[in-house]
Symmetry: C2
Subunit: 472 residues, 2 copies
């Protein structure tokens, strides 16, 4: 294909006139699904359904081919049987379309015939200067314009607009697989590279260099197309946005499995590990971390350093937090004597870090007010850069009061907090979590992830500081 | 105190006549809370509320002191202000009570005066041959008799009777902190040692040697009273029940925090690490593992070996599972040619491990039936010892069908499975999880924990095999 230009993905993400080429059988996960999702998600551009056998779908005119549309088309979303795709792409080329997402599967990921078919499609696109995402992909999401290209019905109605760009080479990054809506994940752009016949992770990073909405980048990768180029662009991007990578293939067995899943060899893990480190990329180890850790960058201020305070309603959890904090590169903040004095005035048993607010419960008239005072006091200490907060969610009535505390804290606090909630009721935990998330406080399923998120945030803040010094 | 006898805890767990000594102010988390919990939880023994200022509570007679009760008392639950406890224990001694749980706090964990008070109580009990749990504890739960000793109102109504014994030295192991009811955790015994002025983890392990209901033991410990004795009894217990330990204090900072939380020094971590290994104890690293991993022993058969198959609806998740499996001591099963033939008849793209059932989706008339066939085929392979199953929970209607599949699989399967569920809707995930849990299939919040649980199960099965060989 042609040499990569910065912002190849712009034509996809910023598309205004979009053709959907596929079946419009009602409630079918084909062109119908894509079109319905565009409607539900409130796409601000124009949608042109394409199929010779239909005349209308969801109140829209269906055109026989893209060449029957008078307006120019920015992007084609193709979801036809694989064997038809070359013809469809040929028609798109004739129409002068410069970007196509091939959602259909049955290509290189399936078998040798599929690989041949894929090459045929690539050749047609290349000749016409058309860029491709896929095949075998759910495509992209742009929350700024309501653009969505997947036929899956679930999860695509209310993705929250925000600062996190997610990408993967499989559909597991999509809203049909992730609780994006339920957890109010703040998404800017979402991209599934699929078989990566053209557009890949390098284009994604290049696009994000110039995308103003994205503050943090999280990519799940099974293989990397061009390691050198990937590291080069990542190194550039890291100077102004953190890049988090989840890359399985840590064991020989999984490298073999990747080869059979993607058709390409991943290479030994140590190479990636050290390349990521050199490029300033943060590596995540689990799917849960991939979901949870980017959030700390989406809404929390960067920590001025790595000294953490732990404010907890359970002494035992406080100790676990200390282990997790140290193991994730944080140091345990030494509270100043004026802070310990103030805390001791609240309760004589509060004066060391972790600050066990549970100890103050017997002397507290109102535990929520007490907690607010403790957190505010601790964050005001110059020796404290960030805090892990451990909350106990019990009943619905306390959710409201706790959310109010954090709403007030948000207005003063210039240091980041991550939150772990435990308790007997899943629903109370989720309610409190949702309330705090909507205020911009990241809450975590695991205490260890809450610590790791702050550890990475502190580490990235340090990288930025070093770079700023260098440029200064 | 007197030398430990096997089964010291029997007097506590098997108590029939129980005195609750505390305040009976309505809806108060004191004696009232304990008594109400005993009622709600359906305690099969007799409850005797004790307080000189009340005459009736919850329809029961309140006695001024334990000595006003005519019947013998097996167990006293004490939840009075700390300074009154010596007098109360003195009265219990006069009554001939041999076991008391001191729920009250304000003892050694609080300050020097508290420590002195605690010693006073211990001396009284010692002289009378009375054993103590606590102080500063939520006490115990016995699901077989409905015995519960905590004043917390939340979470204690419907703890499911089962095979897991949990213990800790803090209240965080209780039903007010853990979603025991929501997650249908199958509990046999639960114990919070509190300040461990007498009864401690060694008594717990000794009691579980002879407790027929408990199949797996999970203990959270911040310090260990007598390392040598603990390892000795653990080594014995491990020959017939797996012992899982969560012991924070992996870093210097947390060892210091433990000292201030429990008043005792934990000692460097390496000593514990190697002692646990030698004793055949499995060490857990996170609170989530502490909750999730014991379940694999509660209801699943032991794996005949460590060869794992991964059946997944997402190829990407399958690869992550392979990494997690290998990193937790499992090996990836090589499917027999007859298995791969059978799978290939279902779909040509199913023939390698991880088995990506999602690849078969296009050719499946009914995905649930397809999944059932795949899992049954894979588990029937002599080269497969256990399986990680990855499910996608979308909508409520599929929950029912999936649960039916697993109900049928349960009837044939003699090999363990652990399950990871992903999907866009938290509620659908939880519904499916609950259904599968109630069938005895452990489901996990994290894929890595699902793999680790099987890894530990395989490792324990090997230990047992070695021991059986030795005795044979």
């Amino acid at each position: 294909m042609e040499p990569k230009k910065k912002g190849n993905l712009g034509a996809f993400f910023e598309a205004r006139n979009v053709a959907v080429i596929g079946s419009f059988r009602e409630e079918w996960m084909g062109g119908y699904g894509v079109t319905k999702n565009l409607l539900n998600f409130g796409f601000s551009g124009k949608t042109y359904p394409i199929n010779p056998s239909y005349s209308e779908v969801l109140g829209m005119t269906v055109y026989p081919t893209v060449n029957d549309v008078a307006d120019p088309i920015d992007l084609a979303i193709v979801i036809t049987p694989a064997e038809v795709v070359p013809t469809v792409i040929e028609q798109c080329a004739q129409k002068g379309i410069k970007a196509a997402i091939i959602v259909s599967d049955g290509f290189a990921e399936a078998n040798k015939e599929g690989a041949k078919l894929q090459q045929e499609v690539v050749d047609i696109a290349y000749a016409a200067g058309m860029r491709l995402i896929g095949p075998n992909t759910i495509g992209i999401v742009n929350t700024a314009t309501g653009l969505v290209t997947t036929p899956y019905f679930t999860g695509y109605n209310r993705i929250q607009r925000g600062a996190i760009a997610y990408a993967s080479q499989t559909g597991i990054v999509g809203a049909q697989a992730l609780p994006l809506e339920d957890c109010a994940y703040p998404i800017s752009r979402l991209c599934d590279f699929g078989n990566k016949c053209d557009i890949n992770e390098i284009d994604f990073l290049e696009y994000l260099e110039v995308d103003p909405e994205t503050k943090v980048v999280a990519i799940h990768l099974e293989d990397i197309k061009d390691g050198q180029q990937f590291m080069d662009v990542a190194r550039r991007l890291v100077t102004h946005k953190p890049v988090l990578v989840l890359k399985p293939g840590r064991t020989e067995a999984s490298i073999k499995a990747v080869a059979s899943h993607t058709g390409s060899m991943a290479g030994p893990d140590q190479i990636y590990e050290s390349a990521f480190k050199q490029a300033g990329i943060f590596r995540l180890n689990t799917w849960q971390e991939f979901l949870d850790i980017p959030r700390v960058f989406a809404s929390q201020p960067p920590p001025p350093g790595n000294r953490v305070a732990v404010v907890t309603v359970s002494g035992a959890a406080g100790i676990m937090a200390i282990d997790a904090a140290v193991e994730n590169g944080l140091t345990i903040a030494q509270l100043s004597s004026s802070t310990t004095d103030r805390l001791a005035r609240l309760s004589p048993r509060l004066a060391s870090n972790p600050i066990d607010a549970g100890q103050a419960a017997p002397s507290a008239r109102n535990m929520t007010t007490m907690l607010e005072l403790i957190i505010a006091t601790v964050l005001a200490d110059d020796g404290v850069d960030c805090a892990i907060i451990i909350l106990w969610a019990t009943v619905a009535s306390e959710v409201r009061a706790t959310a109010e505390v954090f709403n007030r804290l948000r207005q003063q606090a210039s240091k980041p907090m991550t939150i772990w909630i435990y308790g007997p009721k899943l629903s109370a935990k989720e309610d409190l979590s949702r309330e705090l998330e909507s205020l911009g406080f990241p809450t975590y399923l695991n205490l260890e992830t809450a610590a790791k998120a702050l550890g990475i945030a502190a580490s990235y803040a340090e990288v930025r500081l070093r770079l700023d010094h260098r440029t200064a």
